[in-house]
Amino acid sequence: MDPRRPSRVIDPKVRKVGFFTPGPPPDRTQSGPAATPPSQSPISNTLSPIMIPPARHASDNLSRAVGMPVPAGSQLHGHPPVDSLQVGSYTLSDSVLSPSPTRSPSSRVGLDGDFSEDSVNWMKRSNSGRYTPVLPTGGPDLTQSIEASIDESSGDHIAELQKNPKPLKAKTTKAERRALQEAQRAAKATAKGEGNKSVATSATSAPAQTSKPARHPSQKKEPPPLVSSTPILEKKGTEKAPEKDRKKEVPPPRMQFDDKNRVEKAKKRSVVKQTEARNRVELFRHLPQYERENQLSDLESKFFQLDNVHPAVFKVGLQFLSGDIMWSNARCISMLQSFQKIIEEYTTPPEKTLTRDLTTKINASVSFLIECRPLSISMGNAIRFLKSRITKIPLTQTEFEAKTSLSSDIDRYINEKIILADKVIVGHAVTKIRDGDVLLTYGSSALIEMVLLHAYGLRRRFKVVVVDSRPHLEGRVMVRKLVEKGVSCTYTHVNAVSYIMHEVTRVFVGAASVLANGTVYSAVGTACVAMVAHAFHVPVLVCCESYKFHERVQLDSICSNELGDPDVIAKVPGRKDNCLDDWANKENLQLLNLAYDVTPADYVSMIVTEHGMIPPTSVPVIVREYGREHILI
């Protein structure tokens, strides 16, 4: 028992370590395959620890479950069907899948239509796990008969059991403790409302609840439903706590995509067809992960159906979706220009005010653009600016005046905050390029390119190392442009950065945003380059317009990020048979294509803005001093 307990304790933590495959962590195998009752094993992998608050009375369950090698059925006596079902299905899956454990779940689903993918998942994962089929409790026929009732929720109930061990350990994490509390609260609430409902109802109702979504193809890829805070073994026999209650208590500040209810709502509103990606990366479930393949064609075909989306916005959205516009400045400018078109063609409908109606119109366009690709921070700032301009329009102004003033405001924003700012930054940055320098730059940034070309125009003698990385290989474009102009360049991939760094005298990188703690939020890979440069005592200069500054503070790249198309990293262009071609069908493989990463301020020597060259510690000063003016312009 003892050796097992730590393994359980570690379990959720192991899962938290980011990009992992759902195979069992090595330490878990120590506990020995036969030692643990199989009822606890199969689903343990599929469930995120963050989502499942442990049951209130979990500890006594656990003590029983762990302490005595009682057959699982005895403690679950309230729910014989569920229990035996679980065991049975486990063996079934085993027996069916044993010849080819990695068979695609779809075939499984075909076998018995009612199977939700999740239940398949957990069963299959159990396969890959430490358990050898030990308990042939339920015969195949038994499982077949109950199969129909297997679903996510039953999986959950078992998950509950799985989670039970947690409270036993002395230290629970804060999140866990909180979850526990919430679960208790919810349990109380429902107990009051529903009185003593028999446990049996929960057992029977669970399949009824979930069988419906299980049939939807889009639903298939859903994770097991969030938490059923109340376990089946609840002594009072309460129902599942309604999730809404918990949601109301703590409204999340941003859209979290592991929040099922909200995702559902958002999906109803959405224009772009969003199929959730399979094999989503656990740690990044809070970010949208959708299948990309058909989005573009699907959206293109919808062109005539979408009346509420302005054609200009639609065009920009398509460009975002297809990746034609990638640079953040370009994205921001094209977005603002499309909004300008909206404003130009706008007429206030009768009995409405311009400020209100135009804002809703802009909001609709913004949410359309978000569906095409998540907004960058700079775009968020620009939208904030535009909205504040709209709300500041006095009621006395005529529509024409308001429109022209808004249009000219947008023009000024583009000119002053982006184009002119770039020129000033180039002027500042060039002073740091001296003869004999070797400059390293990562990926591609229009601003850095301007800096380098300007320095070259000033006849500075320097060399450029362009470091590039898969999958976009943006650096090639940059190298081409620089070489055409005659700058002497070296092109290499990020793998070689530690080798090349000792010859470099300056690192110039662009940024998607600079946050208030001096953290630079930039294309993925920048942090790696900056850290290597720091280790070699090479100064890192970040060029960034101050309209991209944001007062938010971010400590890691996980909380807020953008996930790109995982297919892009799976496919190597020019190679005929990719090893990862059918990665989506491999349950224990998840691909992570992050778009941004976060460079801590320690690794940044200087931030070059249009307000001058500042240390990263002074970003809040700029945000404070110019944030207001930025709104007033």
Partner: protein, 400 residues
């Protein structure tokens, strides 16, 4: 951590033998050698070795000029440094005197007071430009001021505080609502008022800093001082007057022996002083409670540019967890941002080695280094006691 491997980028680097003869090829060697950087970075019209005027002034004030190093300087600069630099000065002077008001003369007059910092002298001189201006429009007056401050700045490019002082003066004086006054005379008097106020603030800065820093000097402490800084002297003087018991360790301050002068001054105040050679800093760091240094300039990152050796001392102090305090007036805050040691306008100062140096031997003559902010604990300024990161905050507010 790593060994220098064969160059990939710079593979057309010539053989070691040519580097000495061919200065062009040297430009491509990865770590720009110091002399190259200096010749490239030196904005002064005369690229040969000259004594930075800033250090000439200091030498004149502090009276520690030794005939040796003057001779050395002359030898280094081809024997005519003095005449040339004086010619240069003369030409500048004549250029300035062609204009309406001889700022440089005025500046030189102020500069003669040994207690007056160069920047304060410049500020006073600029104030007198306003006073004696015959301009009749605001624009004219501003242009005149601009020209005067430009000529002052070009008089000595190497002095950070002079440049920064002039810039700050222009900011402080001309950025006022007075520019929009209808009546020119009242606007001008407002200008003058501000100019004199600024001069007054700058003049009093040292006293303010000395007052602020008293809390940091406790009885029985040992202070390491590097170089001769009038602010630091003022601080120590005030502390001595406040009957604090402390001991001072002075570095020798090669090559101009500024430490000797400071120890003289402190001995006069009956403060126990011990002299160290510059290389004994690490040896005596364990008996030290804090390090006090002045600054030639405070840069935007919050680091300082100061006499050669400051960086070294700060590094030693940091590794032994001793606080490093910098005393600097706010007119030394400059909009510079050196990325590393070589990323500065060098101020050169010949060094007296006591024995003749063979011509083939290269001598590092840079007179100052850059200490990055992470090695500084606090800055004592007339704006208050600041952490290094606040410097940029103040600069942004002053300049923008």
């Amino acid at each position: 951590m790593w060994r220098r491997s064969a160059s990939f980028i710079l593979d057309n680097r010539p053989l070691q033998g040519d580097t000495v003869t061919n200065p062009e090829s040297r430009l491509l060697s990865p770590p720009p050698s110091s002399s190259m950087a200096e010749t490239l970075q030196n904005p002064n019209p005369d690229p040969t070795l000259t004594i930075s005027p800033y250090y000439q002034t200091r030498a004149a004030h502090h009276g520690v000029v030794t005939s040796d190093w003057l001779a050395q300087a002359q030898a280094a600069a081809g024997g005519d440094t003095d005449t040339r630099s004086s010619e240069q000065e003369g030409s500048l002077k004549s250029a300035a005197s062609e204009k309406s008001f001889p700022v440089i003369d005025e500046f030189n007059n102020w500069r003669k007071q040994p207690d007056l910092a160069e920047a304060v002298a410049a500020i006073r001189a600029l104030a007198s430009v306003i006073r004696s201006s015959e301009a009749t429009t605001m624009m004219e007056l501003q242009n005149e001021l601009k020209m005067a401050s430009d000529s002052l700045k070009s008089w000595d490019m190497t002095s950070i505080s002079l440049t920064a002082g002039c810039d700050l003066f222009m900011r402080y004086v001309t950025r006022t609502s007075a520019v929009e006054y209808e009546d020119f005379d009242s606007a001008k008097s407002r200008f003058l008022e501000r100019a004199e106020k600024f001069g007054e603030i700058s003049y009093k800065a040292r006293k303010i800093i000395a007052m602020l820093s008293q809390d940091f000097i406790f009885d029985g402490c040992t202070i390491l001082v590097h170089g001769f800084s009038r602010v630091v002297l003022e601080i120590l003087k005030t502390a001595a007057e406040n009957k604090k018991h402390f001991r001072v360790l002075c570095t020798e301050g090669r090559p101009d022996r500024t430490g000797l002068r400071l120890s003289n001054e402190l001995a006069k105040l009956d403060v126990p002083v011990k002299l160290l050679i510059d290389s004994a800093v690490a040896y005596s760091m364990d008996e030290i409670d804090m390090v006090f240094v002045g600054a030639d300039g405070v840069v935007e990152s919050g680091g300082i540019i100061n006499m050669m050796g400051t960086y070294q001392i700060a590094l030693v102090a940091k590794s032994m967890d001793k606080p490093v305090y910098v005393a600097a007036e706010s007119y030394k805050f400059a909009r510079l941002y050196p990325l590393n040691q070589k990323d500065m306008v060098p101020a050169l100062k010949p060094i007296d080695f006591g024995v003749p140096i063979p011509l083939k031997v290269e001598v590092e003559t840079s007179a100052r280094d850059y200490t990055p902010p992470q090695y500084l604990t606090l800055l004592f300024t007339d704006l208050g006691v600041l952490t290094p990161s606040v410097v940029s905050d103040e600069l942004i507010q002053l300049y923008l």
